[in-house]
Symmetry: C2
Subunit: 149 residues, 2 copies
Amino acid sequence: MTRPGTSSLAPPADLDSAIERIRSHGGRVTAGKRALAELLYAEQRSLTADEIVALLGDHDRSAIYRSLAQFEELGIAEHLHLGHGQAVYRLAGLPTVPVLCSACGATFHINRSHTRAFVERVSKHTGVTLDLTHFPLTGTCQQCAATIR
Amino acid sequence: MTRPGTSSLAPPADLDSAIERIRSHGGRVTAGKRALAELLYAEQRSLTADEIVALLGDHDRSAIYRSLAQFEELGIAEHLHLGHGQAVYRLAGLPTVPVLCSACGATFHINRSHTRAFVERVSKHTGVTLDLTHFPLTGTCQQCAATIR
DNA sequence: TTCTTTGCAAAATGTTTGCAGATAC
DNA sequence: GTATCTGCAAACATTTTGCAAAGAA
């Protein structure tokens, strides 16, 4: 299975370290991979494969998927599944937890600080170490909550 | 978009109420739907479409998907996405939150009581009303945590 | 009888794979 | 020079859709 969080490497500090990491692990730094890495560092947010294709312009999808897979192995990027449809990709180790609004479909982020006590409680009571960054949480955003009732 | 938690109906108390709900909303109670509902009530857990097909025996997949969709509209069932690949389906309103172990791939459940304070905190600070039952959380189970290090 | 549902086949969606030529190192 | 990468086409896995026949109320 393709598992999130498979890489044991710490997220690289910046774009240059990421590029260097590709090379030092036997990968070739191609124009496509460099553009992809630059995009992820520039955006600092979750992007669907479609968005990546659109933002990169003339690039092959399968090459992008392969580059993203390599980035994940190298601890540079990670992907999340938003449920129905597409996954999203982003830099590894961002300090936020993605939340999908089940009413309007928008994705937003809450700071990881909110999750700490919860993660500790679950760990203490159940032995399970949660990692809330690999799948989005689901909820209703403020606007939608207001609209619905 | 196919949204989780779309139904505003409370989960039916038992199988008979579920059956009655189908009928009272203009649905026909067929042998297939009855078998599916019985299965969900008997198992009280998340099942993949494959498992459902296997457990029900000779049933058409598209009919099962359509029945599950109807059950969701009626507030009888809900589905979750475990990421790569298949979704899982289960009765609506179960008092547990699914957790996917990112190391071994197993799905288990933690009691909803653990999530209450967290949900309140996020609501207060961000305005977002989390619903943690519609997507699994991700983490590492006790065995895997022990094995890995 | 009427409207819903089934079963089958085909489409749709998002991702993965095989392979030959191009490219980084 | 050689192993990795790209681009293309085809495969894949899961879910959805169209339609005619079957079935529930």
